[in-house]
Symmetry: C2
Subunit: 94 residues, 2 copies
């Protein structure tokens, strides 16, 4: 299992949240996706951290990023990005 | 409940993990701390993301950062920092 951590900066906090809610099912129901957690900045209202657990990096890239699911996801939330999100994968340290 | 997200860059991945394991109980047992999850970068081996759930921002700052617990925690892991970690708080978006 890997954890995707996406550092997202937006131009419109409330608009982004509405768009996220409208689109999250396409991510949550993707094969290989185990959980989705969107969190909103306390100190930085324009910042969000998205945490997604995947079976593997390949599950994320092949089942989501390389498919129409990603196109639909980005079409919904992309217009609210202030800059391209920084997306990386992490593994748990016991 | 708030989620602390710490973006940590280290000089020695294995040394940092050993130090983290030696010190994590002081964090995990802190009043107001609900969970601790350390994750290690896949694409960036020198990066870690620490996720800590707290009752509130105040619980983190008053029960941990302002106390000897934090001094002990930083004494253990601080020598492995390549730069000061970026630490922010987030709240869940339903």
């Amino acid at each position: 299992m890997v954890l995707e951590v996406a550092d997202i900066h937006v131009t419109d906090r409330e608009g982004f949240i509405v768009a996220y809610r409208s689109a999250v099912e396409v991510l949550r129901t993707c094969p290989g996706c185990r959980s989705v957690r969107m969190t909103a900045g306390v100190e930085s209202p324009e910042k969000f951290t998205l945490l997604v657990e995947w079976d593997s990096v390949e599950a994320h890239l092949e089942n989501f990023r390389a498919t129409d699911r990603f196109t639909r996801w980005r079409a919904a939330i992309g217009p609210f990005f202030a800059e391209p999100p920084v997306v990386e994968h992490f593994t748990d340290v016991d």
